[in-house]
């Protein structure tokens, strides 16, 4: 009686109706009745940032499991993580945030990854009065717009600039700098922060070039660079892009001419070493965390992570890990899971983790130390540190 087309149309419609009925008002149930606190995780699970978001989530989950195996916060309250995908897009991030806060009723949210998403979702945090703690986003505006409900649980460009430029200019004699930076707030903000400090220390900033994320061919920029008299090339970006820059830098023979620097440690992970195969030898930089830090907390973290994932952790995982612990400690101090109480308790954080001591300043920016790192024989070696990032 019905044509093929008609049947198919009805099937499709039926599927949609079912999906709508099934989806509305539901979501991951995962409720531990009784003593449990829900923490939201707002991270890109799909899309171009999925890989890096995934690393952060690994750190978050490791910390939550660590706490739960010990019985939970204060030995009695387990952590229930609720992960919602922000896909790296502001509107999707806002949707995920409103779902975490309104439907799952979490006590605090860890995220987002991309600054654009954090900037969009922090409005929701402010309106709903739930703390949003970003372990990754670097846009200065996040802590400068007077929104007391958002926290940045990692270093920012100015702090890094402070710590690193002193070392590079004084110890490594780099007076003439060139920058190749990714065209994002991270890249641009960092170039500004670094240039200021370099000039203060009597150095010079020459070539500054920005590339778009995902760019493959850097020969044009590097050829330009070759024609300058820069003593050091400062790279600002992430693993994939910078590994290409470094490879091509090496192919053009520039490593004989100038020193490579990655002060914001976008590349300090094992994947970068794998992709550059020794061509990055001698590179120096700064990072709040590498896997070769000698403190007991760091060693424990690295061992636990390696046992789980078969590779050493890098700074995203560490940031996720630390953030969970800091929130857990805040909940313990507040003796409450009410979002407002958790937020207030967070401001009182005095934390000691794998990377060192940390606390929040009055703009909710985390104050931590940096380490000066160099690449030797395919490993990240701590040259100096901890160095104070804030005078």
């Amino acid at each position: 009686m019905w044509s093929q087309e008609g049947k198919r149309a009805w099937v499709l419609t039926g599927v949609f109706v079912f999906a709508i009925a099934a989806g509305l008002g539901l979501g991951p149930a995962g409720v531990l009745a009784g003593e449990a606190v829900k923490l939201g995780v707002l991270m890109p699970v799909s899309g171009t940032l999925a890989y890096d978001g995934g690393l952060t989530i690994e750190g978050i989950k490791l910390a939550a499991d660590e706490i739960n195996t010990g019985g939970g916060i204060d030995g009695k309250m387990k952590i229930d993580l609720v992960v919602e995908d922000s896909a790296g897009l502001p509107a999707t991030s806002v949707a995920a945030m409103t779902k975490l806060v309104g439907v799952h009723k979490v006590s605090a949210v860890i995220g987002d990854f991309a600054s654009s998403c954090t900037l969009a979702s922090m409005e929701v945090a402010k309106r709903e009065r739930v703390a949003l703690v970003t372990p990754i986003s670097l846009a200065p505006k996040i802590t400068q717009s007077g929104n007391e409900w958002v926290f940045r649980a990692c270093d920012n460009s100015e702090m890094i600039a402070n710590a690193f430029t002193k070392y590079a200019v004084k110890d490594k004699q780099v007076r003439k700098w060139a920058f190749i930076a990714v065209n994002t707030d991270y890249g641009r903000g960092s170039v500004d922060a670094f240039s200021k400090k370099i000039k203060e220390l009597g150095g010079e900033v020459g070539l500054v070039e920005y590339f778009n994320q995902g760019e493959t061919d850097y020969y044009a920029i590097l050829t330009k660079l070759q024609a300058t008299d820069a003593q050091g090339l400062c790279l600002l970006g992430e693993t994939m892009d910078l590994s290409r820059v470094v490879n091509q830098f090496f192919e053009l023979g520039l490593n004989k001419k100038m020193i490579l620097m990655d002060p914001t440690s976008g590349t300090f992970n094992s994947k970068f070493i794998e992709l550059t195969k020794g061509r990055a030898e001698g590179m120096i930089g700064a990072s709040r965390f590498v896997d070769t830090i000698e403190t007991p907390a760091a060693k424990k973290f690295v061992a636990a992570y390696k046992a789980r994932h078969g590779r050493v952790p890098e700074k995203y995982a560490q940031a996720g890990y630390d953030t969970v612990h800091m929130i857990a400690q805040a909940i313990s101090r507040a003796k409450s899971t009410q979002p407002a109480a958790v937020r207030d308790a967070l401001t009182q954080t005095q934390y000691a983790g794998p990377q060192g001591k940390a606390f929040f300043d009055k703009t909710n920016q985390l104050i931590i130390d940096e380490y000066i790192i160099s690449v030797k024989d395919g490993k990240f070696v701590v040259e100096a540190g901890p160095v104070k990032a804030v005078d």
Binding site: A50, N183, Y210, Y219, T239, S243, L275
Partner: protein, 289 residues
């Protein structure tokens, strides 16, 4: 200063050769099946992954791995043509576009899921050989792009001009119905076209994977540039595509090097606008719109 110019120009020609390989496949698929294949970049990407896996999994050296990948992707292309594109032959062009876009999304994200977003690099021994002449730097790997590109284009041109299948392809491109009435197995030609297009894209992808990186989202940017090349190339013949692709590569490289690197992705578009202004009746002389 002169050396910088020539270095940028050399970079541009190499870049253009990569665009050329992808654009040729697009051009063939468009000309013969009348489909705008947005998923072409994914054949390029899968070719790169295929090469990577063949090399790391079976220990095959670089060049044979590229060839093997091309053969794999040819087979894959035939399957895709049969399963995905054949049902919509003759339907409005939006269908083909959206269909290929759906395919592109599916392939990119399936690759993301299966291979993870972990970036990888194909290591070939050619990368180690640095050539230096007249103040120009180039690795053998990059030079290979020119060699392989030229060889493949040569084969393609010969194939289209002088073989029976090539002639049949040209017939179908001109008029599908007439070709059918003349007894040409049109659907088989479609399969062959897709196979060739996929092979070219795969070769480009493999080389890019060696020079730059292999990752699931590498297909999208090159496919857009390849489309511009196809339009600029006059839609008429292979020669047009070759010239257009080298031109686009040069403009991008020289513009990026001397004018502004940040805006370099926009230069091909500006070329297009310029072309329209200079030839307002359109660039597509000789082909039906």
């Amino acid at each position: 200063m002169i050396t910088v110019f020539f270095q940028q120009a050399l970079n541009g020609i190499i870049l253009g050769s990569l665009y050329m390989l992808v654009a040729l496949g697009l051009f063939l698929i468009f000309g013969i099946l009348e489909v705008t294949n947005f998923a072409h970049g994914e054949f390029y990407m899968l070719g790169a992954f295929a090469t990577l896996f063949v090399m790391t999994g079976l220990g095959v050296p670089f060049l044979p791995a590229v060839v093997l990948a091309m053969l794999c992707m040819a087979a894959f292309g035939v399957v895709v043509e049969r399963v995905v594109f054949r049902p919509i032959v003759g339907k409005p062009l939006i269908n083909g576009m959206l269909l290929s876009f759906g395919l592109s999304t599916f392939l990119t994200n399936a690759a993301l899921l299966l291979f993870t977003a972990d970036p990888r690099k194909i290591e070939s021994e050619f990368a180690q050989v640095h050539l230096r002449f007249l103040g120009l730097h180039v690795t053998l790997e990059r030079l290979l792009v020119l060699v392989v590109g030229a060889a493949l284009v040569g084969f393609l041109a010969y194939f289209i001009q002088h073989t029976k299948t090539g002639k049949a392809m040209r017939a179908v491109a001109q008029d599908r119905i007439a070709a059918q009435m003349a007894g040409i197995p049109v659907f088989r030609i479609y399969a062959v076209t897709f196979a060739i297009g996929s092979m070219l894209a795969s070769a480009a992808g493999s080389m890019v994977g060696a020079i730059f990186l292999v990752s699931p989202d590498m297909g999208w940017t090159i496919v857009l540039k390849a489309f511009i090349v196809v339009i600029l190339g006059g839609m008429g013949n292979i020669g047009g595509i070759v010239c257009a692709s080298l031109f686009v590569g040069l403009v991008e490289s020289l513009g990026g090097g001397f004018v502004s690197y940040a805006y370099k992705d926009a230069y091909p578009f500006l070329l297009l606008v310029l072309a329209f202004l200079l030839r307002p009746e359109g660039l597509m002389g000789g082909r039906r719109a």
